[in-house]
């Protein structure tokens, strides 16, 4: 087989689309553990909340795979990669030869060891099965504890709450969303959740899960000494790269699978992309794992092109998150929490607490390297342009950005022309 892809997530779709940009003929085989067509993983919270039905989960129509000459082997797990023999083995006992391999195995839920967590009614929230289980559970339960006040935890909590469950979210750090957002944005988001009736407790987590003699879940002991009764516990702290397959095969891994600027791993003709990969970063010198949707697609796309023989460099990952809390939209892109002791960063903030409107811009050496918007988000893309294209921001332009009015006429003339009105196609 010319192209084999392990994993059927968004990185895999990116790779299929990337391969087909270069090679429209040779067959692609996708092997995925999950038994369903590739779906929008973030959509599982919309499904759990009852906002969408299962019919809206699939990312691409069936005909996409036919037209792209892709064979899907779903419900099948790759158990072993042999980088010398160039084969992968599956849990169905098959051995499949590859010329080019992509490892797009994503992440696995990070689960800290908590006494009492083995047993019923402790769940994760990272895939469709988890969502389905929680949907049926939600019909009978009254209370849920969610561990983790990051993006996935808040989404899980919000969705269960929408199903009528009394939810408490526990976050060990002093505030929610500590990775992707800053203090002000987190406070506005937290305020919105509290208004709606979700309980969020920060600086505290579960020390032990209490069960009765039959093993039924009773409640949780917290690190602050309190006990809370609950029917289910959802552990939603985040994901870690699912790289054991690669590591066992002798492929170099660090935090994730190491890849070069062409998304190639240390093994010949073996590539990696998505949540599992540690790849070039747009803003930083070192390679990083940035487990978000857009990066997974972009890395897959770049890997796909390289697998098909094009020598394309990855432009670099850029952290970006868009998440709404009951009608309060928030967006964060790039570096939003610069190191406090580094005065080469400059931060500018406007905050209107009444209107729940917040804007934070982070500059580094006269460039915009990150921003946060809460409430008024419509100009987000225009800010992203400055981060992504790394355009210098002179003093007068900085004022315009701060006033919430970035625009294309601020772009350097040549770049503007090339982008919007080129003489020939670029």
């Amino acid at each position: 087989m010319k192209y084999v892809i392990i994993g059927n997530g968004i990185a895999s779709i990116g790779a299929i689309e990337g391969i087909r940009k270069v090679d429209t003929e040779n067959e692609i085989l996708v092997i995925g553990s999950e038994d369903s067509p590739a779906y929008g993983r973030p959509l599982i919270s919309y499904l759990l909340a009852g906002k969408i039905g299962p019919d809206r989960l699939a990312l691409r129509p069936q005909e996409f795979y036919e037209k792209s000459i892709v064979t899907l082997k779903l419900g099948i797990t790759v158990t072993d990669i042999d980088i010398k023999a160039r084969t992968v083995s599956t849990d169905k006992g098959e051995s499949i030869e590859f010329e080019n391999l992509l490892i797009a195995t994503g992440g696995i839920p990070f689960t800290p060891p908590i006494p009492g967590s083995d047993g019923t009614d402790v769940y994760n929230f990272t895939n469709l099965k988890h969502a389905q289980v929680l949907i049926s559970k939600a019909k009978t339960i009254k209370k849920a504890i969610v561990i983790g006040g990051g993006l996935i935890g808040l989404k899980a909590g919000e969705s269960l709450f929408d199903r009528g469950v009394d939810v408490t979210i526990l976050e060990l750090s002093p505030r929610i969303l500590s990775l992707a957002f800053d203090e002000n944005a987190a406070a506005l988001a937290g305020g919105r959740l509290a208004e709606v009736g979700l309980n969020v407790k920060c600086g505290v987590t579960v020390k032990e899960i209490q069960r009765d003699e039959e093993g039924n879940l009773k409640g949780v002991h917290l690190t602050d000494g309190n006990f809370m009764q609950t029917d289910v516990v959802v552990i939603a702290i985040g994901v870690v790269p699912n790289y054991s397959l690669a590591k066992d095969a002798g492929i170099t891994v660090d935090r994730g699978i190491n890849v070069n600027d062409h998304m190639a791993t240390s093994a010949d003709n073996v590539f990696a992309a998505g949540d599992v990969a540690q790849a070039k970063d747009l803003l930083f010198e070192d390679n990083r794992v940035i487990p978000i949707w857009t990066n997974a697609y972009n890395q897959g796309f770049c890997a796909g092109k390289n697998m098909a023989g094009a020598k394309i460099e990855f432009s670099g990952s850029l952290a970006m998150n868009s998440i709404s809390f009951y009608g309060l939209p928030t967006i964060s892109v790039g570096t939003v929490n610069p190191p406090e002791d580094d005065d080469s960063y400059e931060v500018a903030i406007t905050l209107d607490e009444k209107k729940k409107c917040y804007r934070k811009l982070v500059f580094h050496n006269n460039h915009l390297v990150g921003y946060v918007l809460v409430g008024d988000i419509d100009m987000a893309g225009m800010y992203t342009a400055f981060v992504k294209f790394q355009m210098a921001v002179p003093e007068d332009a900085r004022k315009q950005l701060l006033s919430g009015e970035p625009d294309v006429l601020m772009w350097p003339d040549d770049f503007f022309r090339e982008t919007w009105n080129p003489e020939t196609k670029n």
Binding site: R56, S324, P329, G381, V408, L409, N421
Partner: protein, 148 residues
């Protein structure tokens, strides 16, 4: 493929393209009704935006990029590339209003629908006989619809 190319040397900032856009995307196809009624009632809004800086103006909308950032960002499959036409297509029924595309498109070509959890993005007036309405409406040839 044919795209709309804006020329800031010619744009006079009259906003006629925006009006033509909402008319073309209205139910009534009538400018007055679209502007007076559908705008307020249905949240009808233009896919184009005119930027002004001193005497310079330009009207921009989706570039229908070859490798679009919005498609990479879309969590629902609501945005995709049509391999036949080359257009960046929006499937309103699939969209969940997560605003990821709005954040990711560095051309500022996506906006929130004023009322619904949906986006507003140029569709090149899909199905319209005379091509994009904005191009037709521009009084100073500042918008060109052509192959480049």
């Amino acid at each position: 493929m044919k795209r709309v190319y804006p020329d800031k040397e010619y744009c006079i900032g009259c906003h006629l393209c925006e009006l033509a856009c909402i008319t073309a995307h209205s139910k009534s196809k009538d400018l007055i009704i679209a502007y007076r009624e559908e705008r307020g009632r249905d949240g009808l809004s233009p896919c184009k935006k005119v930027f002004e800086k001193g005497d310079t103006c330009v009207a921009i909308s989706c570039r229908h990029c070859d490798e679009p950032s919005c498609v990479a960002a879309c969590i629902s499959g609501g945005l995709y590339k049509d391999p036949e036409t080359g257009r960046t297509v929006y499937d309103r029924d699939k969209c969940v209003g997560c605003w990821s595309c709005l954040m990711a498109c560095p051309y500022g070509a996506i906006r929130r629908h004023p009322i619904e959890a949906k986006i507003v993005k140029c569709d090149l007036c899909e199905g319209r006989e005379n091509g994009p309405a904005c191009v037709e409406a521009c009084p100073n040839q500042a918008l060109k619809y052509e192959e480049r």
